[in-house]
């Protein structure tokens, strides 16, 4: 079977997993949640095989072209979610948001060209993989933090004992706490991404910082999240202020990682738009 065949099997797995997680949340049935978990793992296995075949055929990792980038984004989102679910069981219902987002991303990836492209010499570096991996982890953790902040704002002040979908979500202070942890993790991942990018740039052309648009916007995102972490300590930001800030900060992350590289030419854009 080809990479595309396994890719479709992964999509089917994720779609079914989304349905099962939604059922688990709507009907409060653990059996649905277990099915959701099983289908997500199965989908992830197919997805891994698909990416592996693609990797061996193309001779490089899935980070060139929209198809590869979105596919690997979905892969890391599911992996991150499964790890998170394994570590913090109370967040199992996040599958309702993560799994549909993943298969939609994979569907969107199919719009782009699926042709495997060769790596130019600048991208033939071990730093590339580390740089990209941490970029993906940054976005994944910040995205989950945004989801938690959204749930916090919806749940805040509501009576926890009442039935309804929100009653299945952890208590507001726990959501606030974990969104803070995720931002801290994302900030570290973002720092590693910026640092490895600088080391790689220094290896490639002898300059670790060139104030290129995507590079500078990454620094802006770093400062925006740095201000958040500082505000949590200095001004004891939490709850509503913290949640709104996390949502606001994510706009900068989206602009830096997904908007600027698509529309402003540079090393980060050359291989992303096909």
């Amino acid at each position: 079977m080809t990479a595309v065949g396994f890719y479709w099997l992964a999509i089917i797995g994720y779609v079914l997993s989304s349905i099962a997680y939604s059922g688990g949340l709507a009907f409060s049935k653990n059996s649905f949640r277990k099915a959701g978990l099983f289908l997500a793992i199965t989908g992830l296995l197919f997805h891994t095989v698909s990416l592996g075949i693609r990797w061996s055929l193309a001779g490089h990792g899935p980070y060139i072209s929209t198809y590869e980038i979105l596919s690997s984004n979905a892969w890391i989102a599911v992996l991150f979610f499964l790890f998170f679910q394994w570590k913090f069981k109370q967040f199992v219902n996040l599958g309702v948001a993560v799994m549909p987002l993943s298969f939609l991303m994979m569907g969107f990836a199919l719009i782009g060209s699926q042709e495997a492209r060769e790596l130019p010499p600048t991208l033939q570096s071990a730093w590339l993989m580390v740089h990209i991996l941490f970029a993906k982890l940054t976005v994944a953790s910040m995205l989950v933090a945004v989801a938690m902040s959204g749930f916090y704002l919806l749940k805040k002040g509501k009576d926890d004992t009442k039935s309804g979908i929100l009653s299945k979500v952890p208590a507001p202070e726990v959501l606030d706490d974990y969104s803070y942890r995720l931002i801290a993790f994302g900030f570290i991942a973002l720092t590693i991404m910026v640092v490895t990018g600088a080391i790689w740039a220094n290896d490639s052309w002898g300059s670790y910082w060139s104030w290129a648009p995507t590079q500078t916007w990454s620094l802006v995102v770093w400062l925006v999240y740095g201000i958040f972490l500082h505000g949590r300590i200095t001004f004891k930001w939490k709850g509503t202020v913290s949640s709104w800030y996390i949502i606001f900060a994510f706009v900068f992350a989206i602009a830096a990682f997904f908007v600027i590289p698509y529309f402003v030419s540079g090393i980060h854009s050359a291989y992303m738009t096909d």
Binding site: D177, A184, P213, L223, I227, A255, F263
Partner: protein, 469 residues
């Protein structure tokens, strides 16, 4: 007088070390970097056939036109920020030590009951060892004593985590030292070379170079002899690898080895890095003679096509004639490059296609083969030589290792700050008429919402071992 001065200095130190000040400075820094980001994106044009989206247009409209004037403000804010970090560091040491003293004290029942996480429950006789053992098994360092008032215990986990913020802040000082070193020692030069030629590292030998830096800007005088150019393509316009095979000699002429430099793998010679350049192509030697037999010789560079279907073109101006010569190079040597074999059909011989440009008037003048000449309008263009060339960039920057070391400390500080969070437990076991009872309390530095859940879980685990039924 002396006292007044000390009070004043103390106030300054307190003000400069305030966390609120660092927050404001961080905010300013964010705005100034955003401004730089906007200016950087303004400098590059959108891709062909695309229109900038609304978000980018709005951002661009926010960018002011003289960012260089903001440089001063940027450096002032940066300097204040570093100053603030230094003073904040001093304050942090004092605060961490004060907190440490509190943690290392045993607590009595009353103060335990005021902690946000506390519980009281009856325990069996001789539960002291079990409580201590339970906390040890959970990764805590436990200290306990028995005094007249009863049994007292204190336990700590991830104690070193309290130094994380300080470490994280101090790394900015390392980064600053690295940046200062980088600014004062950075020097780079660009050179082009053909096989068989030797480049001597000297300021005047570079085609393009930066100014000599204030520190360590002396000529290194090592020699690089180009043996071969190893250029390969995946296909026309898609580069596979650019490499130079070179023989390296030190300033005394001692042979240091035959080396290969390629993209992402720079050479290191005497503390200086030599990077493979991205320009490769051919240098054509021309001789042009006018009707009065005045001769001029020169060279014209042609880059190997970087896009599919691109031509090897260059243009020269013939001063005094008002004419421009547009030259297109064809050479069978192009088809000999790995990955460009299919271009051999278009490049079967070495020749130059000559076009004159006068204002908007373009006139094709024919072709001139290698070794021959072409005459038109009293001019004779002779194609004398053709040789390949490659490029490299020499960079020295002694701040780089310090900056990267700073980054490592920065990451370490962040991990310790956010994921090695100190947790403290205190316990007291008292005797009453009904039997022994335990008062347990705990605090943490961060993530207090989820810590409460963890505390409750630990309490229920502990109860299984020591609860009196």
């Amino acid at each position: 007088m002396q006292d007044n001065r000390n009070v004043f200095l103390d106030k300054i130190i307190k003000f400069l070390g305030r966390l609120k000040l660092s927050f404001i400075l961080l905010l300013f820094l964010g705005l100034l970097v955003s401004q730089r980001a906007i200016m950087a994106q303004r400098a590059v044009l959108p891709k062909e056939g695309t229109e900038l989206p609304l978000l980018i247009r709005i951002l661009n409209s926010l960018g002011i036109f003289s960012p260089e004037k903001l440089d001063y403000l940027f450096y002032i804010v940066l300097a204040l920020f570093v100053l603030n970090l230094g003073f904040a560091g001093f304050k942090m040491v004092r605060r961490v030590r004060a907190k440490q003293r509190i943690r290392e004290d045993f607590k009595n029942e009353e103060s335990l009951r005021t902690l946000s996480n506390n519980t009281v429950f009856p325990v069996r006789q001789y539960a002291e060892e079990k409580v201590a053992g339970f906390l040890k098994r959970n990764g805590f360092r436990v200290h306990y004593e028995t005094v007249n008032s009863g049994f007292r215990l204190r336990a700590q986990k991830h104690g070193t985590g309290q130094w994380g913020v300080l470490l994280f802040h101090l790394t900015f000082l390392i980064l600053l030292i690295g940046i200062i070193l980088s600014i004062t020692t950075r020097y780079s030069g660009y050179a082009e070379i053909s096989p068989g030629e030797t480049f001597i590292e000297k300021h005047e030998n570079y085609l393009k170079k930066t100014k000599r830096p204030p520190l360590f800007g002396d000529d290194k005088l090592f020699k690089i002899e180009l043996e071969d150019i190893d250029l390969s393509y995946w296909g026309p316009g898609v580069v596979k690898q650019r490499a130079n095979i070179v023989n390296v000699y030190n300033s005394d002429g001692v042979f240091l080895g035959r080396k290969r430099m390629e993209i992402n793998r720079p050479l290191k010679v005497g503390g200086v890095k030599i990077y493979q350049g991205t320009r490769q192509g051919f240098i054509a030697g021309l001789e042009i003679t006018d009707s009065e037999n005045n001769k001029a010789t020169g060279t014209v560079r042609f880059r190997v096509p970087e896009k599919p279907g691109a031509k090897m073109l260059n243009r020269i101006n013939l001063s005094g004639t008002g004419l421009d010569l547009e030259l297109e190079l064809f050479t069978e040597k192009l088809g000999e490059i790995e990955g460009l074999e299919q271009l051999g059909a278009r490049h079967m011989a070495t020749l130059l296609k000559v076009t004159t440009i006068e204002g908007h008037r373009r006139v094709s003048r024919g072709v001139v083969f290698y070794g021959s000449a072409l005459s038109f309008e009293g001019l004779t263009v002779k194609f004398r030589s053709l040789k390949p060339y490659t490029s490299f960039v020499v960079v020295r920057d002694y701040g780089v290792p310090v900056i990267f070391a700073g980054f490592v400390f920065l990451l370490f500080g962040l991990v310790v700050t956010y994921f090695w969070v100190p947790e403290n437990y205190w316990a007291v076991i008292k005797k009453s008429a009904d039997g022994d009872y335990l008062v347990l309390g705990a605090t943490t530095e961060k993530y207090k919402g989820s810590f409460k859940n963890r505390f409750d879980m630990q309490v229920s685990e502990l109860k299984k071992e020591v609860l009196r039924s």
